[in-house]
Symmetry: D3
Subunit: 234 residues, 6 copies
Amino acid sequence: MSGVIVTNPPKADAKDVEALAGFGVATVSEAMGRTGLLGPDIRPVQQGVRVAGTAVTVLSWPGDNLMIHAAVEQCGEGDLLVVTTTSPSTDGMFGELFATALHRRGVRGLVINAGIRDTQELREMGFPAWARAVSAQGTVKATGGSVNVPVAIDGQVVRPGDVILADDDGVVVVPRERARETVGRSKAREAKEAASRAAFLDGQLGLDRYGLREKLSQLGVEYRTFEEYEGERP
Amino acid sequence: MSGVIVTNPPKADAKDVEALAGFGVATVSEAMGRTGLLGPDIRPVQQGVRVAGTAVTVLSWPGDNLMIHAAVEQCGEGDLLVVTTTSPSTDGMFGELFATALHRRGVRGLVINAGIRDTQELREMGFPAWARAVSAQGTVKATGGSVNVPVAIDGQVVRPGDVILADDDGVVVVPRERARETVGRSKAREAKEAASRAAFLDGQLGLDRYGLREKLSQLGVEYRTFEEYEGERP
Amino acid sequence: MSGVIVTNPPKADAKDVEALAGFGVATVSEAMGRTGLLGPDIRPVQQGVRVAGTAVTVLSWPGDNLMIHAAVEQCGEGDLLVVTTTSPSTDGMFGELFATALHRRGVRGLVINAGIRDTQELREMGFPAWARAVSAQGTVKATGGSVNVPVAIDGQVVRPGDVILADDDGVVVVPRERARETVGRSKAREAKEAASRAAFLDGQLGLDRYGLREKLSQLGVEYRTFEEYEGERP
Amino acid sequence: MSGVIVTNPPKADAKDVEALAGFGVATVSEAMGRTGLLGPDIRPVQQGVRVAGTAVTVLSWPGDNLMIHAAVEQCGEGDLLVVTTTSPSTDGMFGELFATALHRRGVRGLVINAGIRDTQELREMGFPAWARAVSAQGTVKATGGSVNVPVAIDGQVVRPGDVILADDDGVVVVPRERARETVGRSKAREAKEAASRAAFLDGQLGLDRYGLREKLSQLGVEYRTFEEYEGERP
Amino acid sequence: MSGVIVTNPPKADAKDVEALAGFGVATVSEAMGRTGLLGPDIRPVQQGVRVAGTAVTVLSWPGDNLMIHAAVEQCGEGDLLVVTTTSPSTDGMFGELFATALHRRGVRGLVINAGIRDTQELREMGFPAWARAVSAQGTVKATGGSVNVPVAIDGQVVRPGDVILADDDGVVVVPRERARETVGRSKAREAKEAASRAAFLDGQLGLDRYGLREKLSQLGVEYRTFEEYEGERP
Amino acid sequence: MSGVIVTNPPKADAKDVEALAGFGVATVSEAMGRTGLLGPDIRPVQQGVRVAGTAVTVLSWPGDNLMIHAAVEQCGEGDLLVVTTTSPSTDGMFGELFATALHRRGVRGLVINAGIRDTQELREMGFPAWARAVSAQGTVKATGGSVNVPVAIDGQVVRPGDVILADDDGVVVVPRERARETVGRSKAREAKEAASRAAFLDGQLGLDRYGLREKLSQLGVEYRTFEEYEGERP
């Protein structure tokens, strides 16, 4: 694999990224029609942090962090590094030295579909990260890969310049062209949730609020007292 | 699957539930003869919380939270919601809105053999949860299931009204008819552990306290100096 | 399996252990040529703790903690207990009572390739542990095993008396004969990292610092503008 | 865990078992409303075999096959042995010697939620088995368990005397009281499938046969030409 | 998620598909620079079959096969159905009835990033399939999804009309625009492999054939006799 | 990691290897006190083959097969190649070209704690293999490793010259110094199994043959009729 380093990709508008950072990952995913989520195996190494940035993508050989070095140069203010490997790997490709270099360049954080190390140092320096594994295993710089090409992680495609939003619930990608529209839809979703929250606090049931009693009936779900049910069971 | 919603199941006595909440999950499981534990893949989303409640059970289709809505209506003071799916799923079926509704009804927490989301919000509102996965993936309300039927999770059957006790070590289920007896046995277990703790602090060895030296000898386990062992090794 | 309990194995020098405790797991593994790491599935049950000790090893039957009792007697000041099973197990073989006994003997912590319980109590008493699983499942004392024999965990051999170093990034084993040499190499590694850190803070790129531009070129990795790249893609 | 061996449980009628053996696992599960399936991790060790029998259940300690010995005595003509462990295990608890003893007693096969060994010998002697793992790891006879108590595997409860049906697609359990009814429903399901098969062979589409075009429309699924779709995409 | 069904996507040229079917999956992946492979968890349900076709893609809700029905209408001679779900699922979404309908339309096989059932029937009718799981679990037809949109599976993007090649080693996707070029490169790769095979049969070593002795030396790999090595070890 | 290639290690006696090939993996493991087994995740890619050979070991970087090339030169008549990686990998490091070279040199087969490809070709040429994964993913030749050093796989240490025995049940390693003794013990084990087989065919129960009735009684396992048991259950 020869690989390519792509320079100056288009990026989502910074104001839209800023706005998206005001919503939770779940809200934004719902706002996009329940799409865009990286799967549940990529977890935060800290708690209570939410961050958004524009993706700089890296496709690396397993056990090799050469291309992360190449990617640092492509990173700037407001970016968020997204790293994946050509085959599954848990090696600790990224640690505190990379975070130091990226932090200085204004990078917002890291999403890595592989391993990470120096997790305590990352927490202390306030560089947030989401990773598939924590591993102290070091890597080599021997095989080529790519920077700023589209990568696929857990059923989602991440392109350079797309918005990455991450919090304790996971990571969602918003295509750069849909960032503005998604801000609007997220606001609407949040308003809808606020109304539901108020109603639930007031004692309303979801069954009534969302008209689900009829749905249950249509689906043939029936009510039984415990005694009736026990009498019918094998 | 048509499904059924069972109303008014019998429940363990509230005083017994209260009493069980005073013991750790490990202690109660030991008191029941090392049974009752849900497996190690269902983990708390918070740290340092222990809670007990009477089970309201939900059996849902994967990717669908319709039946959780139906279950909310069946939940009351002192209950704890237990959700599982008909096939494995990591989707975030449960979040802060459900927790809001349940919290208001006096529900003690959630055990879900699937995914959960809004974990930071749940921690902030003090609604404890144990889940197989954290995932922001939303769900639909399209397919029927059941509420308050017996469900099987990780080799354990949970029936409505059974006691669920959960802490940092995991989740244990106590059949409602065995709640009182288990309180007594847990007290005895705790007393036994306290005596062992004191003895260990005093320097006694488990080998002596539990009469294990003879056991080792009967099993043919032998002592060797390092030099003897190295001399015998291949 | 009859099993053997080996007494008085040689141990790494206490001063070297002390010195190694001053480095991170990643640093020490790098200093040993990127070797010695237990895999990423053994995780700490606390956060922000680093500890080093000399290994007392236990090889147990799954679901059985008899040999941990035998091991306690072999443990002393500065040791760290390392437990594995003859086949994969998640059972909670170790809890607060064992920790109490070990703590009193000056043992530094636990690494267990199986399950652990009483995790909240362990955190409260300050006995650090690294485990493959958290599980309240209790165990029996019925089948023999060995203490202080070499054991293999995740591709690494741990011998009694070897140095175990563990932190949030995982666990590394340093052969007892290489402890002193590894202290020296770790210092050198740390100095090298400090210089890199300073350079990165100063804005230097890894590409330049490590001479990687030529490497990329030799590997055939090429630079493209976004427009060039899009034009060449299928 | 003391354990109990239950003798002479009621069993499903042999004629119903015989009749169920005429259907596939998928058909029978569908006939029961898409329920009753053990999960996809229990796989056949042979290919192209379908078998049905009445369950004799075993609940064993991990790494211990004592209770399988106790179960053999409880097994007779037309039974099928179902083994699970109190915590997850891959050990090879069952091999050719057990199969020899069971085969002589007219037992139809084995379903084991753990490991199996002597797989080649089992295939040669025609004793079919479904297992979670293949492992040569031997076990001890040291800890008690139970025979012919209800056990839960992968979300299903198996009671002694229930019908177990297994083929290349997996394993389904039919409660003994529902065996006859399930035969009837399976016949109906098979007839329905035969009609669909004929229609599909004749060129009919499922969209038309099941009235799904309207469903798609109600759900808001829309048709686009490739050119339209590409024009709308980000 | 509303979803869309895309009609008449461009397809790779049938002659190129035919030509690609003459190579193994490993050869074609190597010819594309070691790219294009779906991961190792998607396995064939038969042995010794190789097949190529143009992708018709399906993105389904977990536990729901509605969109496969919609996809059948979009399938024709030479196609190969590729199914994935919006979140991980092992349910048996596809079975013999679908295969019957597709077989009649000239479809070459199935790749499914979820579960499959009726595996024995599929083998008997000669409809090859590659799946993540075998499960008899049936599905509903309740939630929308998409047909012939790009889908991402295990780090690869599959677009409608791309070439899918599958054999015992797994599944590779060739972008439709690169099909012809890949045929050529695969031929070259095969020729190179044939030459290596002949050389190896003749006794040449890869070390010499590929000039690796110098590489080893540059990397600092050294030769030691067993005695030297043992003398240097700790 | 610089790495080392160790030449001319001592090997188990060929006659002992030959003799061990006459026993099953389970028998030999039992004969060694239930030790020596590689775990259940390393599976054969063929069925019904048993093979034994002396280990030539390889420790490779993930995604890199350079050291397998170095190992070929160290392989001779009666050897069996054992490959593992420094961190977990599923890449297809080994395929038909390597098998061709090894076959010519009289090598008996392959055990690889990583991925393999060209599985159909391997079956056709009769070169048996056991692997953790099947994957067509190719590898590079860029990073050093070692040949003929001790490696640890799944809790077992394999040293060069040790005997590897593999069949459908998995893989066992016999230390070279224990080969002769293990032949003797395996014969004894086989004789004991033959006697048990005859007894079981004759209708004897394991309960009686192994004196387990008393054991059950000592452990507190009790017999109940179904009616008694149902009466006592919660």
